[in-house]
């Protein structure tokens, strides 16, 4: 049994970046306010002092420009970590991400791979209102050529970046603003994250709760409460949203015969829609109840706290949905 360490999600992310910078000279971090300000959410605080401005580059507010430059730098041999402060500004460089990063390899007949890593913080923050509360993982996961991963745990916050940088193709990493201050214990020697696999976070036999991102801890909490009522839920962290690790959740559903899909993104055409379709295609005859989804309410996220909370699935919602499926 290895040693456990209590750490915040923010510290875990920072540890991951620091390790990457130490590991490979070609790695550099570029983004708005990543240097002198210390990162919009203080994730990269003090890294400028440690690594210098060649490795920690503050960039102007020009998302198309610096994301495109990151793609160009990766084409020419560097290993950039490009930070888009939040996914809310992620539409500005969308052309660069879709038409260049995701497309060049196929369009050039396999000649040009794009090993860029783009980090974006994502999801509902704390009363940031409609323009700063987006959950756009599905938008990016729609695009072939991208690898899209979601950091749902502290372990992955620290272990995912390394594997992402080793990947020869563009990787988009979604981190969650609202989890930054959350503390958890992780194993000190926990290794790097396999970003081609989903992860069973809790084993169970009665139902599979399939989720990612903020949903992971919520689902684990719900599973804990359900176990007190005699319901044994399995919790799956999808972790990689494209390409989906289908085997993992199909195996789980084949065992539990029931599935509840949970995420914060708007319910129509989200990741759960895809997961649900794959369950129908591959595990239909294993189902003992209809697949159910809990997604974000389809509204621009409002400012007041009670309405903000009401717009995404909460632990109680997950708990109630499971009970309804198992005890109709």
């Amino acid at each position: 049994m290895s040693e456990l360490k209590k750490i915040t999600y923010r510290e875990a992310l920072k540890a991951g970046i620091r390790e990457a910078l130490l590991n490979d000279d070609r790695v550099f971090l570029m983004g708005e306010d990543v240097g002198r300000y210390g990162g919009a959410f203080a994730v990269s605080k003090s890294l400028l002092e440690e690594f210098g401005e060649d490795r920690i580059m503050d960039v102007p507010l020009s998302e198309s420009g610096f994301v495109g430059a990151g793609i160009g730098a990766s084409l020419a041999g560097m290993k950039p970590i490009v930070e888009v402060m939040t996914v809310n500004f992620g539409l500005l460089p969308m052309d660069q991400i879709v038409n260049n990063a995701a497309t060049l390899l196929h369009m050039s007949g396999g000649q040009l791979n794009v090993p860029v890593v783009i980090r974006m913080s994502c999801g509902i923050g704390k009363q940031l209102a409609a323009q700063h509360s987006h959950s756009w993982e599905p938008l990016f996961a729609h695009i072939p050529g991208l690898v899209v991963v979601s950091v749902g745990t502290h372990e992955d916050a620290r272990g995912m970046l390394h594997t992402a940088l080793e990947h020869p193709d563009p990787v988009i990493i979604f981190e969650y603003t609202s989890m930054l201050n959350l503390e958890a214990e992780i194993q000190i020697d926990a290794g790097h994250t396999d970003i081609s696999r989903a992860k069973v976070r809790r084993e169970g036999k009665d139902i599979s709760i399939i989720t990612y991102g903020i949903g992971v801890y919520k689902a684990l909490e719900a599973a804990k409460r359900l176990s007190e009522q005699g319901i044994d839920a399995e919790v799956i962290d999808l972790r990689v949203l494209r390409p989906l690790d289908e085997d993992c959740f199909i195996k789980s559903v084949s065992k539990t015969h029931r599935a509840l899909l949970v995420e914060e993104a708007w319910a129509s055409v989200n990741i759960s829609s895809e997961v649900s379709a794959r369950i129908m295609e591959n595990a239909f005859y294993e189902l003992d109840a209809p697949v159910k989804r809990l997604g974000g309410s389809e509204v621009p996220i409002p400012y007041p706290l009670h309405l903000e909370n009401a717009s995404v699935p909460q632990v109680e919602d997950i708990e109630n949905a499971v009970i309804k499926i198992l005890r109709p």
Binding site: M78, N99, L105, G110
Partner: protein, 328 residues
């Protein structure tokens, strides 16, 4: 034995042949398009040949080139084989992008030819990023990025120039100003129509040059390339030119006057250069005729190669969405 324009008979012949090849190759392409051998969009460079020729002759093989969707001539000037380009335009797997790109997406990594970029201005940030990588990796190659004056109205143009200057990276921006963004004249798209005035706003040295005169272009290009290479800083060269043909094959040219086209045709860079060489005794009539003959053989060889080319198997469709040897 070089003359005052630094031309010797060998180089003179090479350049003349290159421009004749560009012209003839595209005329053949137009014909093949009407016969449905080439499909999709086909944008011809006819009239602008001096620009690609003049700029690319100044480069070293290790320099990076990024061009637009009107890039057949650039690929030819870079030494990509005419047959391989023609095969690409046919969609055959013998093409430089396995036939997956077509006319607008010619790529040849070995020749450091990075497309064939068809989102107007989308490749400017890439160029800045590639130059950034050269700087970080302490390579002495430079990046040359061709684009039209239409691109200069895009935000990415301004972002890329600002970043390039801010970061002091070795990139030569070459604006091929042919006066029309598709069918909209410069005067309707730019408040300041001298594109070269936009460089200094970002602290970038800029110059305009007659894009119909190969000698003037070579002089300007040699100077600009030399400056970028020695200073490691960006440079903007605006080449004022004109396309004799329509924007693409399917264009009724409602937006410009025939007399205007005829006026520009009088400045055709190819006869002008030929006349000059003959006058300077850098080439003989007999040699010119021999070149014309070689030209026809070359074009025929290109068409034969494309005709004899093969289609990529349908089973290969999904190859190269992701790299084939991902690091585990």
């Amino acid at each position: 034995m070089k003359n005052k324009n630094n031309l010797d008979p060998e180089k003179a012949e090479k350049l003349l042949f290159q421009m004749l090849l560009m012209r003839k190759f595209e005329e053949k392409s137009a014909e093949l398009y009407t016969k449905e051998k080439i499909r999709g969009f086909l944008h011809l460079y006819i009239g602008e040949e001096a620009v690609a020729t003049g700029i690319i002759q100044a480069l070293k093989p290790e320099d990076y080139i990024l061009a637009t969707y009107r890039e057949h001539a650039h690929a030819l000037a870079r030494g990509v084989d005419a047959g391989v380009i023609m095969a690409e335009m046919y969609g055959k797997q013998e093409g430089c992008s396995r036939g997956r790109g077509g006319s607008m997406h010619l790529f040849d990594k070995e020749k450091n030819f990075f497309g064939g970029n068809a989102i107007v201005s989308g490749h400017l940030p890439l160029a800045t990023g590639m130059a950034l990588a050269s700087k970080k990796l302490k390579r002495d190659n430079i990046t040359v990025c061709f684009f039209g004056e239409g691109a200069a109205a895009e935000g990415e143009f301004h972002e890329a120039l600002n970043l390039a200057s801010l970061w002091k990276v070795p990139v030569l921006f070459v604006c091929e100003n042919n006066l029309y963004a598709m069918g909209t004249a410069l005067r309707y798209t730019h408040a300041v129509q001298e594109i070269e005035k936009k460089g200094p706003a970002y602290g970038i040295e800029s110059k305009a040059v007659d894009g119909m005169d190969l000698l003037k272009l070579m002089e300007a290009a040699n100077k600009a390339v030399e400056q970028v290479r020695s200073s490691g800083e960006p440079y903007l060269l605006v080449c004022n030119t004109y396309r004799f043909r329509a924007h693409s094959m399917f264009d009724a040219e409602l937006y410009r006057d025939k007399t205007e086209v005829e006026k520009w045709k009088k400045r055709d860079p190819i006869p002008k250069f030929r006349k000059y060489l003959l006058k300077e005794n850098l080439i003989s009539e007999a040699k010119v005729q021999e070149l014309e003959k070689r030209l026809n053989t070359e074009i025929q060889k290109a068409v034969d190669l494309a005709e004899a080319g093969t289609w990529e198997a349908k089973e290969e469709l999904t190859r190269f969405v992701y790299s084939e040897n991902p690091v585990s």
